[in-house]
C-alpha cells in the first residue's frame, strides 16, 4: 500500500519524493522544530527581524506551536530593498556560496544568498518538483528560464541534473533557435514561463513546425508568472504536451516552493521547508481554511537568508483535502493573480486574468494583449489592445469589427466594465522573454 502511494505517475520510485508523503503529524512536528530554529536564527543574526520582534514584544521562545507563527512580524519585498544588498543575511559572506538577484521593477534589485546546504535543499525541492511533473532520467530537458541572476534558470538547472535528466541550458530568447534545438536535439521536456511557451507555439507554427507531429516534447513545467487554466488548456491542446504549474519566488528560494503533481489540481507545497499561511491582504488576519487570501511564507530551513512571514502578494487558498496522488503535503490553489496586479477602475476591482479569460472565450487561442488605463477629465478609461494574428484575420472589415465587439462584450460580461478594444498589428505590444507587462496605468501621468 505504502509502496503504491510512494510511486510516482508511471510507477517509478523516487527516494527524494518520499518526503512528499510524510505522515501529516510527523510533518507538523518537523515544521514546528524548524520554525523554532529559524525564528531563533533570525532573531539572533538579523537586525531587522530582531528589532521588529522586540517592537512587538515577542521572543523566539514564545513560539510553542505552529499557530504561534502569527505572533511574528511580517516581512515584505521593501524590506529586502531597504537592506540592500546583504542586510537580511544571517551568515557571514564566507558561508555564502551563491548569490542571485531579482530584477526589481523600480530602483535597486533585491539580493538573495545561499549557503552550501541551502543549495542542496534547493536542488532537492526542484527534483521533487520535476518528479511530481513526471520528469525522470532519460528526459532531454530544454531549460528556457533565464540563466544568470534570475533564480529560474540555474535553479531548474541543478534539479534537472539532480534527477539525472539531460539539461540543455539554453536560457530564454531567440525563439527560432529554441524551436530548432527542440527539434534537432530530440527534446522531451521543457521549462519556461507559460507566456513564452505560448509565444514559441506561435513561432513554431510560422516555421511550419507542428508540435505534435514534428517534436517529441511530452511535458513541461511552467512558472514565474501567474497564468490561467485557459492558458494551460491552450498550451496542452496546441502543443499536445502536459503543462504543469510550478511556483516559487527568489525571496524564498526561487522555483521549488510548490509544484503540481499528475493530478494538476493545485500545487503541493514542500511543507518540510516552507510554512504557508493565508491572510486577508487588508487586515493581515488569517482567513478561514480553504478561503482565498494572500500567501505568506516562512522559510523553515534556509540558513543564508531566513525569511519570516514573507508577504508574497500572490492570491491563493490552501487546499487541505488529500490529493488523489497520495502526497500528504498540502496544496495551494493555482495562483492566477497577484494582489498588486489588481487595479481598480471606476470602483471595480479588475485582475488581468479576468481580461485573459474574456479574450480566450472569444478566440480559441490567447492573443497578446495589454491593458491600458487612462484618465481624461477625471474619467477613467480602460483600453484593451489585442494583437491580430493570421488566424484571427478575416478579409471583411465587418467581421473584424464584429471580433472587436465580441472581445469588448466578453470583457464587459466578466468585469461589468465597458472597454475600448483596439486591434493592433502583431508584434506591436512590447513583450519581454520573461514576464509580460500586462497593465499600463497612465492615469496619474497627467492631471
Amino acid at each position: 500500500m505504502i509502496r503504491n502511494l510512494w510511486n510516482d505517475l508511471d510507477g517509478t520510485f523516487f527516494p527524494e519524493s518520499a518526503l512528499d508523503y510524510m505522515p501529516a503529524d510527523r510533518l507538523r512536528e518537523v515544521q514546528l522544530q524548524r520554525l523554532k530554529a529559524v525564528t531563533a536564527l533570525a532573531y539572533e543574526r538579523v537586525a531587522l527581524f530582531r528589532e521588529r520582534m522586540d517592537a512587538k514584544g515577542v521572543k523566539p521562545g514564545d513560539v510553542r506551536t505552529l499557530d504561534d507563527v502569527r505572533l511574528l512580524p511580517f516581512a515584505a519585498k521593501t524590506d529586502l530593498r531597504d537592506t540592500y544588498p546583504y542586510g537580511l543575511f544571517a551568515v557571514p559572506m564566507s558561508e555564502v556560496v551563491r548569490l542571485h538577484a531579482s530584477s526589481g521593477t523600480t530602483g535597486k534589485p533585491i539580493v538573495v544568498g545561499y549557503t552550501a546546504p541551502d543549495m542542496e535543499v534547493w536542488k532537492q525541492v526542484i527534483m521533487r518538483t520535476l518528479y511530481a511533473a513526471g520528469f525522470s532520467r532519460g528526459d532531454v530537458v530544454q531549460n528556457m528560464f533565464g540563466y544568470g541572476l534570475f533564480t529560474g534558470g540555474l535553479g531548474l538547472h541543478d534539479g534537472i541534473e539532480g534527477i539525472g535528466a539531460t539539461v540543455i541550458p539554453i536560457s530564454g530568447g531567440n525563439s527560432e533557435r529554441q524551436i530548432m534545438v527542440m527539434k534537432d536535439f530530440g527534446v522531451t521536456a521543457v521549462s519556461c514561463t507559460p507566456s513564452y511557451f505560448i509565444h514559441l507555439i506561435e513561432v513554431a507554427g510560422k516555421l511550419g513546425i507542428d508540435f505534435k507531429r514534428d517534436l517529441k516534447v511530452k511535458r513541461g513545467v511552467f512558472g514565474a508568472e501567474p497564468w490561467t487554466d485557459q492558458m494551460r488548456q491552450f498550451i496542452e491542446t496546441a502543443s499536445g504536451i502536459k503543462a504543469y504549474d510550478i511556483y516559487g519566488l527568489s525571496e524564498i528560494i526561487g522555483p521549488g516552493v510548490a509544484a503540481e503533481c499528475g493530478c494538476q489540481s493545485g500545487l503541493h507545497v514542500f511543507e518540510d521547508h516552507f510554512l504557508v499561511e493565508i491572510v486577508d491582504p487588508k487586515t493581515l488576519e488569517p482567513v478561514p481554511e480553504g478561503q482565498e487570501g494572500e500567501l505568506v511564507i516562512t522559510t523553515l530551513s534556509k540558513q543564508a537568508m531566513p525569511v519570516i512571514r514573507y508577504r508574497t502578494r500572490d492570491i491563493t487558498a490552501i487546499e487541505a483535502r488529500p490529493c488523489a496522488c497520495g502526497r500528504s503535503i498540502r496544496r495551494i490553489r493555482r495562483i492566477s493573480r497577484r494582489s498588486d496586479d489588481m487595479f481598480i477602475i471606476r470602483g471595480v476591482n479588475v485582475f488581468p486574468s479576468q481580461i485573459e479569460t474574456a479574450l480566450l472565450k472569444t478566440e480559441a487561442s490567447l492573443p497578446h494583449y495589454q491593458i491600458v488605463l487612462t484618465r481624461k477629465s477625471g474619467l477613467d478609461r480602460m483600453e484593451v489592445r489585442v494583437e491580430v494574428t493570421g488566424e484571427m484575420l478575416r478579409d471583411r472589415l465587418s467581421e473584424m469589427e464584429g471580433l472587436q465587439r465580441r472581445f469588448a462584450h466578453s470583457i464587459e460580461q466578466i468585469t461589468s466594465l465597458h472597454t475600448d478594444v483596439i486591434l493592433v498589428q502583431p508584434g506591436t505590444i512590447p513583450r519581454s522573454e520573461g514576464k509580460a507587462k500586462r497593465v499600463l496605468d497612465h492615469r496619474n501621468d497627467s492631471v
Binding site: K206, V388, T389, M400, L423, Q425
Partner: protein, 143 residues
C-alpha cells in the same frame, strides 16, 4: 478562374502602409493592383500579385497578420453600361458582391475588375454561362 488575393491587417497610423510597401519592394514583389478598406482605427490592404504564396510568406515573416482569399478578375467592356451589364447577370441570379476594385491594367479593349462574391463558385458558373470573360492568371501576369 479564381485568383488569390492577400489581405493584410494594418493599423490606421501614419507610416504603416509605406512600411509594408517597402517590405514588398525589398523582396522584389510586384503589385498588380491593391485596394485599402479601412475603419477609423484599422484597415485591410488587399493586394493582387503574380506570386501570392511568396507575397504572403514575405508579409508574414515581416510580422504582419495576413490571410489569403479567393477572388475573380472579370473583363468588363470599357463602355458606358459595361459594368452594369455584368452586375445585371449577378442580380438576376441573386448573387451579391462583397466588394470590387479595378485592376491597374486592361485586357484588349476591356477594363479588368477584381470581384469578391459571397458565393464564389456559383458566381463563376453564372458569369461564364452569361459570356462574361473571366481573366486567367496568365492573361493578368504573363506566363
Amino acid at each position: 478562374m479564381k485568383i488569390r488575393q492577400i489581405s493584410v491587417f494594418l493599423e490606421n497610423r501614419p507610416g504603416r502602409l509605406s512600411a509594408l510597401c517597402r517590405t514588398l519592394a525589398e523582396a522584389g514583389i510586384n503589385l498588380s493592383t491593391l485596394t485599402l478598406a479601412e475603419t477609423g482605427e484599422f484597415g485591410l490592404l488587399r493586394l493582387i500579385t503574380p506570386d501570392p504564396a511568396k507575397a504572403q510568406q514575405v508579409i508574414e515573416q515581416a510580422g504582419y497578420a495576413a490571410t489569403a482569399t479567393e477572388v475573380v478578375a472579370l473583363q468588363v467592356p470599357d463602355r458606358p453600361g459595361g459594368l452594369a451589364s455584368v452586375l445585371q447577370v449577378l442580380e438576376a441570379h441573386g448573387l451579391s458582391v462583397e466588394y470590387m476594385y479595378a485592376f491597374a491594367m486592361r485586357a484588349g479593349g476591356d477594363a479588368v475588375m477584381v470581384f469578391r462574391f459571397d458565393d464564389m463558385d456559383r458566381a463563376l458558373t453564372v458569369l461564364q454561362a452569361a459570356g462574361v470573360s473571366v481573366s486567367k492568371s496568365v492573361d493578368l501576369f504573363g506566363a
